[in-house]
Symmetry: C2
């Protein structure tokens, strides 16, 4: 890093100094300190204390020894032995420094740190980054040590980042308070990671793609400063236009969720969750209970907060770059401009894969393109500007598509062919993009040119460039997803005329009654009653203690009917043959009761049979509403396709409670079997508004009655007159 | 490219010259010619004729003017004006060249090429690459011109590549007979692409990742030489260890399929299909009929031929590199070695995503790792060698895991941390890999280091390195997929005792009878009869012309029964309410017939009702077997989950006819709802062998009776006594 860059840094730091920024928070000194001290500075290049000092002095470890490239304010080195390090005089203790110290970075053995906090606190230090490991990650003793750290810090009003972290990097302030091997360029992506190593990976990647970061924060064991604190800081940080977040687990999931939702309302957030598959979760060792449940909860939290969940590192970095640089769009009509036929087709394939559409070009647009493209151009989208495309030709095509009203976003593809001039083409693309009239999102793929001058030129001028065309299309899909999130509207309530009014007080009473008689798995009658009190419409039904009473009840309800087992000992009735369908007369009822007795005796001779439920048989497409209490996030609502297919295809959406009507509709939209809900094969059509409202009623119930631990309405049947519940499973907390 | 490289080329070409290679075919001169002439050589750098000559002389267009880096044999330039080009004397016509010409590369206007073929043919030239465009892609006249070219070439026994192509590159022969902007390094991936531009993209990519190609062939309009010809050549080429194939469409799909299957039996093949989504297919404009059908057919062809189908460019290139360099494995127990926790977790997530497992380390392996790793290592897989891992530590961990019997393959991850030495780490990894005892597949991800010295060092020493960890895991999954393909075994036939013996002669006769009476959609009785003749077991059933006959038939079969409409005018019976289930007595039969009459009259008053089918009602998990005739590949067999879910979840596998028992089982394995087939919720378990056998019987039928255009057995019910067909839809060709 040369002096020019350092000068630039310095100028930027001054223009955004802590004191002048009205949005500054109490975390500012972690990013824009007036001075920094390294406690545990070392002269041994193999030690973290050496790397920290060197990074603060010179910006990065390798290839730099220019103080102008480092932190522009005072940097103090503290080392007990007191020898000079990297040409810098050292202090044998922190308190020897006479000038004010704003931020302390610590790399000394754990047992000395609590005292250091007192020493620093007494000097007025209010911000400390503890790099040292050896705390909570080592078990109970380490946990106690960590708690002691936090207690001491709190008495001084001091904020702690770490322990066991990489540190903090703020390129624009010239601050590299980390032991990363190199520093990123200043940029607009705010990176927050539970894994310090992932930050170093992103920095290496950034050097190839030549994009920058507004900051990188490694929180390590999160003793004090949490994800939500940094998310709030990023929300207010002018340099940050998008936030990229790697997490494995949160200390306070709901606090994170609230902060993420606030941040996502003003800036795009991309998250990648380590441990999102069973193999990964095992690796993260961060799950204790139901793995699947917890993963669903995380995805629900991200979706509901408006956080885009990336599925892999490429998406994580690619989406963040696009969202940091480019505007979003509600429309999904994308134009592809390419000098390469095959890659154009693959880009169109990717559009299909990511659920976005290729724009249909208007005759006017085609006529305008005819004027600037050779006659053999594709006359269609992808717009093939032909292998010998000049920079001017690219520029002219972009100008036309940039102003075409039928195009919402543009992906531009280039392969290096015999006559291609990559740098001049990059320049032509950037110029079209810099046109003040340009408003659309634009991503590019100069195929195979990652980290070259031409690719870098695009990124430097605000066009995110990708090594393969599918990644550019993927980035465009993120811009569309974000645009749609911002355009979401809360719909009007649905009248739900056919459903009974909710009476949650009575529902609570019914649950209390069940507890009083020692019922944890509510019997069907009680469960049904609870759901009716939640405001759900049921099919007609009755209970009977024996065969003859069952026949009378069935005659009254009318056929066809269903007979179901009542047993306090059986949770999944259908597993033991406790449900008989399609009964059309009294003889059938008798036979069904007998059959159920027989099967139960076979499966579980101990199980008591206390009676039978007789139900009006309704049939149609079946949906499910479910709830389980996630250990991290609380009530996790599920809605999707019912029957046995729920287990096999997992065609459901999840959301956290509380939720909005829009959240419920979003969850319903995630169901893949939309054609069935739309009435395929003459089935009744689902009224989405009605289902959303019913989901909200169930959500209200489980919030009002926290004793309900699990709940399944499976199935709810879509009938011509609306949704009818015909079963319920309600399990109370122990 | 320096002289040293050219020398190396020359040495290699000599050692594998055409004459000495016993596996040489008639295409050899395209890759290893003794001399080359460029017809249409140009002094204008903007022309293809300039690029061609320059590439032949100097290896690549840019940054090279060293004849030693070019084609080692004689290169002749032909230009009508006869001026010197690139310091090379030119001939005003091909026939002026006195010395023998082995390969001619052509870049002159289309109308002159037919005569050129005669001129060349008379001189003994038997190999020509036609770069020029302006043939079939321009419509009917172009097509005629192209056919004329082929006719002329055939009279001389000459083989043609192109027209409208990029050309052929054979790095090892020093041959760059293309107008690509740069040449790849010699390597072991054989690239074959319908898109020349995709080749240029792969070459750019290869320069960053520093891998090489054994050859790159662009076939363009495929007037003469087809994909299958090149695949056969690659099968015999010693330098090629894996083949990468980009296609949009084939001229002769079944010929391709056969050649691909032969090639995949001896070398791994990775294909990417342009136009694999509806958006992409529109872009490729290569589909006329049913898009979905055709895409399914391509995927079936790839799967059945043993070709790995990549879903995007990253996979296409990544899988090809791994398969070209690394051994395959049948086992899927992968160990991850990493100095970075977060990326280790993400790699484990990717393993879950790609359906491969993390190895469970044995106590012995852990004890051995304890000896070489710091005490805080993860003691688990991923093996976290800790952020300060030295090259030696990486090497030691790899040595141990390389010999651990519980580990089938290894993915090694590195991020650049403060103390990391990437080059020395690459060297340590390569050394472990070069140990003669090493037999396992190994892929690496030096995160963000694509195209750097360290990443290149790994590739150069045979370890494919990837920029992001998920791509390394993806590559490992390809090695496992390939290993499993090679280990496939044909199972023993299933006895099918409960199914009737096939009588295909009678099936043929029944179809003839139907045609004779003008039936195209076979009525259910006939369709059922045909399927019984194919050797399928049916539920008991009878036909009745009216209500009373229906009641008698039902009484004889026994209840519950199903009543179905018989009408020559209705294809989808259930759409018009033509199926009534759950009938338990004679009154129900009468009512059902009446209801059907009513509904049909409502839906389609014109439809004739010729009677009713009365069927024994069997219930259970429903599967489907279907067949449609793909315009490219012929009979396309489908097997999967039946009922209405087949349409919504498309949970089916496809294969082409003819197929093996193993093919049928593979298709069944592609079904996602395996738990249902395994008897979830007390359902009868599917005997996969029985279903495979039934699929083969249906496949035999549609091959024996080509008049059957479409066929659906939906559903086939899985009962405790095996599969029972209860419906059939058979449609004949027009």
């Amino acid at each position: 890093m040369g002096g020019e860059r350092a000068f630039e840094y310095r100028a930027r730091v001054e223009s955004t100094s802590t004191l002048e920024n009205p949005m500054s928070t109490d975390l500012d000194a972690f990013f824009r300190p007036s001075s920094v001290a390294v406690v545990g500075a070392s002269s041994d290049p193999a030690k973290v204390g050496y790397a920290l000092l060197r990074n603060l002095l010179f910006g990065a470890i390798h290839g730099a020894s220019d103080r102008n490239a480092g932190f522009p304010g005072p940097v103090y080195a503290v080392n007990r032995k007191g020898q000079d390090i990297l040409g810098q005089p050292t202090f044998s203790s922190l308190s020897e420094i006479d000038d004010p110290v704003d931020l302390v970075v610590v790399a000394i053995p754990p047992r000395f740190i609590a005292d250091l906090i007192d020493e620093a606190g007494a000097m007025g230090v209010r911000h400390m980054i503890v790099i040292s490991a050896g705390f909570a990650e080592l078990g109970d003793e380490g946990k106690r040590l960590q708690e002691a750290l936090v207690d001491r810090a709190r008495t001084w009003g001091m904020r702690l980042i770490g322990p066991n972290c990489l540190g903090v990097i703020r390129p624009e302030s010239g601050l590299n308070a980390s032991f990363a091997e190199s520093a990123p360029l200043p940029g607009s992506i705010g990176l927050l990671s539970q894994s310090g190593a992932l930050i170093t990976g992103v920095i290496s990647y950034a050097h190839r793609e030549l994009f920058g970061l507004s900051a990188a924060v490694s929180l390590g064991s999160k003793a004090d400063v949490e994800d939500e604190d940094i998310l709030r800081w990023y929300a207010a940080d002018d340099a940050t236009t998008a936030v990229a977040l790697y997490v494995e687990a949160f200390t306070q999931p709901m606090a994170f969720y609230e902060a993420a939702r606030e941040l996502a309302a003003v800036k795009p957030v991309v998250a990648i969750k380590g441990g999102s598959t069973a193999e990964g979760a095992k690796a993260a060792s961060s799950h204790t209970g139901s793995l699947a449940g917890s993963m669903a909860a995380y995805s629900a939290a991200f979706a509901q907060a408006g956080v885009l969940q990336a599925r892999n590192t490429s998406q994580f970095i690619g989406w963040s770059r696009a969202l940091a640089m480019q505007p979003t769009t509600v429309g999904d009509r994308v134009a592809i401009v390419t000098n390469a036929g095959g890659p154009g087709v693959l880009s169109a394939d990717a559009a299909g894969e990511f659920g976005i559409r290729l724009a249909t070009l208007s005759d006017e647009t085609k006529a305008r393109l005819d004027e600037v493209l050779p006659s053999v151009w594709s006359h269609n989208n992808p717009v093939d500007v032909i292998g010998d495309a000049t920079p001017d030709r690219y520029g002219a095509a972009l100008d036309i598509l940039g102003s075409a009203p039928e195009v919402d976003g543009i992906v531009v593809i280039m392969t290096v062919q015999a006559m291609t001039d990559p740098m001049a083409t990059a320049d032509a693309i950037a110029k079209a993009h810099e046109n003040p009239a340009w408003t659309k999102p634009l991503c590019s793929s100069f195929i195979g040119l990652m980290g070259t001058e031409a690719g870098a030129a695009l990124d430097a001028r605000g066009v995110p460039d990708f090594n393969v065309p599918e990644d550019a299309v993927s980035a465009m899909s993120a811009l569309i997803q974000r645009g749609r999130w911002l355009a979401r509207e809360e719909p009007d309530p649905h009248p739900l005329e056919r459903h009974p009014p909710p009476d949650l007080e009575r529902a609570r009473q019914l649950v209390q009654d069940a507890r009083a008689v020692g019922q944890r798995n509510l019997d069907l009658a009680r469960a049904t009653e609870v759901m009716k009190c939640a405001g759900l419409r049921y099919n007609r039904s009755a209970t009977a203690s024996g065969e003859e009473e069952a026949v009378r009840a069935a005659d009254e309800i009318g056929y066809p009917i269903v007979v179901k087992l009542i047993s306090p000992d059986v949770v999944h009735k259908s597993d033991v043959g406790g449900v008989v369908l399609d009964i059309v007369d009294g003889a059938g009822v008798r036979e069904a009761c007998a059959r159920i007795r027989e099967r139960v005796a076979e499966h579980d001779p101990e199980a008591r049979i206390t009676g039978f439920t007789i139900e009006e048989q309704v049939s149609g497409t079946e949906v499910i509403i479910g709830m389980s209490r996630d250990p991290d996030f609380g009530p996790l609502m599920m809605v999707g396709m019912g029957g046995i297919f729920v287990e096999v295809y997992e065609d459901v959406g999840f959301r956290l409670a509380p939720m909005t009507r829009r959240d419920a509709l979003d969850a319903i939209d995630e169901i893949r079997a939309q054609p069935l809900l739309d009435g395929a094969r003459g089935r009744p059509v689902l009224d989405r508004g009605e289902l959303a409202e019913v989901v909200l009623r169930v959500c209200d119930l489980v919030q009002a009655v926290p004793e309900i631990e699990e709940l399944d309405l499976n199935p709810l049947v879509i009938t011509p007159s609306g949704l009818v519940a015909i079963d319920a499973r309600v399990v109370l907390t122990a």
